[in-house]
Amino acid sequence: MSFLVRLPQLGAGQAWRDAARRLASHRIPADQVEWARFDQPQGLLADRPLPAGTGGHEVRASKDLIALLNSVICHSDEQAMALCYQMLLRHQQDPRAAQNPADRLTHQLHAMDKSVRRDIHKMHAFLRFRELPGSGARRRFAAWFQPQHFITERAATFFAKRFGDMDWTILTPEATITFDCGRLYFAPPPPSRPDLPEDASEALWAVYFQNIFNPARVKIAAMTSEMPRKYWKNLPETRLIPGMLADAERRVEAMRQAMPSVAPERAQRILERLAPDPMPTQPQTLEEAALVARSCARCGLCEAATQTVWGEGDATAPLMIVGEQPGDHEDLQGRPFVGPAGQVLRSQMAAAQVGPVWLTNAVKHFKFQPRGKRRLHQRPNQGEVQHCRWWLDLERRFVQPRLTVALGATAAFAVTGSAAAIRDRRGNVEAAQDGGPVLITWHPSYILRLPDVEAQQARAQLRADLTRAVEILA
């Protein structure tokens, strides 16, 4: 005995699911079921009703499988419904088959699903509303669309969510969807393609479509692969394409022929007004130095880094603390010592009750290596430190600190000129190249890299050194 399931014009998805579940619960083999859509001629297919009631077998389907089948039954292929039922039966024996992309039936269903989803996507994209005359509070629109598969009902929710504050009707060969005051209504399709009134916005849209096209980059294959010709007949803009293409060559040639023209007179006036004041080559104040340093290009670091990170603090302070170079956070914010190492320094400064201070770095640009999503800090080389000393020297000349604290080897090298190992120098007071005492201590980022016990110790040493700096100045 075989069965025939005829799906209705509206609500076909639900009807298929009900029928398939009942058939599968009786374990009716796939070859004993015939599936027909509403529009298939009755003729030879006499109705043969489904088995009564639910059968003895439980019918299971994973969430993914349900989504897949819901989509595939919209496919215009007559086999779609039968293939879906085959898959449902198969899933009862072998639940993994539906997840194996190399399986033949799964592959076939995935391909059909893709085609259906693409068609829905194209309906969302290529449907064009025209405004209808109306006098109510809500504006009224209508559209005609011819999908390839039976997708009208599935595509409707998108429009309901998007065009909530207007009333509209979408007509397709399969159904009529009306959205009226926030509710969706489904009805049988119109007998033929309706005549929709002209819409003035279409002329503006045509202007836009023609002018956003760059005639110097014609790529017709790329256009048709995304906007297949089967959709063209209902799109208002596609009839402009032949003309745009015919004119493209001429427009490009005209561009090429056109010699660079003489600038209009007002251009010169505007550019003169915009021209920046010449930068002083030898800054006379700290502010001036900071300004000029912003566009520093003395070494190659400026191009990779975001910005110059100039020192900050009290410009009259007796104490200057010099770090190595800005890190990731400092580079983004344009301020020194705001990252994790800066936090360590600032907390130790607070503990040591450090008074007014000028905080800066030996090198003013962040040096790094991009690695995945992170920028790995790289130590500046001696050349870069030498280049940047020009700025550090200026800063020191304007701030005139009575004592300098150099954090770590790079800062110590920049201030004292000695590149000797920092381990032996920490806690010592040395002489700066431009005169004045320099107290040498750990760089806080070094402390961050140490294991816990040693970090505790180094942190205490940093605090002790800062305390000593306060005492020296007292």
């Binding site: 194996n100 992309p101 561009m255 991009p370």
Partner: protein, 409 residues
């Protein structure tokens, strides 16, 4: 002389056609079920395609093409004699909404020439976005091209209305920017990108009560680089791009082949746009973002500093690293599978899923959607071995297009 809306639209759409960005995806989900108009979220929709192969997803226009800057590569520079026009804020809002209601677009991409001052210009753009969002309850996509010199307050407000902000880096090397766009400052452009990144991160931090601040530019930020207007190599371009991705968490870097512009500046060549170069850069960019390649790895296969125009960058890399192949598809790691030419991210994902159900054979891979013609020399399967193919001298020639006689013109 007053211009009609059609005329203005023609001028200001034409002026916007050099902007490559078209994305309308990746923002927060929202729709008009609780009032207003429009929806967004998930994947964006391309509503039409023009014969240049690019999609129309957003109404991409300039607020005005008057500009006080003089960037040599730009049609709107102050020294150009191009026709000028300027939209009123109301006109931009009306166009956006009317086009949106007819399902022509996903939203608005608003850029602008700089008039009066960067702050004045940015304030007008923010006003348009505010009118759309607040006065009309517009839920569609808004992309604002920010003016890097504009004040932080304006950018902060822009980020509240816009789904995406972008700031064009314009050229891959600072020296070229200083030369070709003398009024722009590369360090200011980067600092503006850094500010957007920080503002986005701050907007994701919950307060101590678990409340989230307003979303800031939820679809991220992007930028555009012009290719072929200066002497920078692909190596320079990709290094810059990778720095921008890591430094400012950009969603996209767009590469725009320098296109001849009418009334062009004498400082630039009147060349045909290097379209293949642009295409290869996009492929390389994809390798950096989705396939775990470093900029250096990609360009190491290209000693000249420029990508091979005849074969795609992944194939070029594989040809230069044949010692890593052939790869046993049934055992190889995800990272290595991603390096096989002809295997896309989705193919790799399917291979890994299918491996759970048993050994994969040649025909399974075909069904899964791998481009086997490309993959053949680089993989081995129970029923396929490339034998000498991997090391054969003419392997590149199998993939490169046949040599062509150079055109004499």
């Amino acid at each position: 002389m007053k211009r009609g809306l059609q005329e203005k639209l023609a001028i200001l759409a034409d002026a916007a056609k050099y902007d490559a960005s078209c994305a309308s995806s990746g923002t927060t989900r929202r729709d008009s079920s609780k009032g207003g108009i429009g929806s967004a979220g998930g994947t964006g929709i391309c509503h039409a395609y023009t014969p240049d192969g690019r999609c129309i997803s957003l109404l991409k226009i300039l607020m005005t093409n008057f500009c006080i800057y003089d960037c040599a590569y730009c049609i709107n520079r102050v020294s150009s004699r191009v026709e000028r026009a300027r939209f009123l804020p109301d006109e931009v809002v009306t166009l956006t909404l009317e086009f949106y209601r007819r399902n022509y677009i996903e939203g608005l991409f608003l850029s602008s020439g700089i008039i009066r001052s960067p702050d004045d210009t940015m304030a007008d753009m923010v006003r348009i976005a505010r009118m759309l969002r607040q006065d009309h309850g517009f839920k569609g996509y808004i992309h604002l091209k920010t003016i890097p010199e504009a004040s932080k307050e304006l950018i902060d407000e822009a980020g509240l209305y816009a789904d995406r902000l972008s700031i064009n880096i314009e050229l891959p090397q600072d020296a070229s920017i200083r030369q070709l766009a003398p009024q722009k400052k590369p360090e200011t452009i980067r600092a503006a990108m850094a500010d957007v990144r920080l503002a986005r991160e701050a907007s994701r931090d919950r307060s101590f009560r678990g409340k989230r601040p307003a979303r800031f530019s939820p679809a991220g930020q992007s930028t555009q680089m012009i290719v072929g207007a200066d002497q920078a190599t692909d190596g320079h371009i990709l290094t810059t791009a990778s720095r921008l991705y890591t430094g400012y968490r950009l969603s996209r870097v767009y590469y725009s082949a320098f296109s001849p512009i009418p009334d062009s500046s004498a400082a630039l060549p009147l060349i045909k746009p290097p379209m293949m170069r642009e295409h290869r850069l996009y492929q390389a960019d994809w390798l950096m973002r989705f396939y775990g390649f470093d900029a250096e790895e990609i360009t190491s296969a290209a000693p000249s500093g420029n990508l091979d125009l005849a074969v795609d960058p992944k194939l070029a890399w594989a040809l230069a690293h044949r010692h890593s192949f052939p790869l046993d598809v049934n055992r190889a790691s995800r990272e290595m599978l991603l390096r096989v030419p002809g295997f896309g991210t989705r193919t790799v994902q399917r291979i890994l899923a299918a491996r759970r159900s048993g050994l994969l054979r040649y025909h399974d891979l075909l069904r899964i959607g791998a481009l086997m013609k490309k993959a053949q020399p680089f993989i081995s399967l129970p029923d396929w071995s490339p034998k000498g193919l991997t090391d054969s001298a003419n392997l590149r020639a199998r993939f490169a297009p046949p040599p062509e006689q150079l055109s004499l013109i």
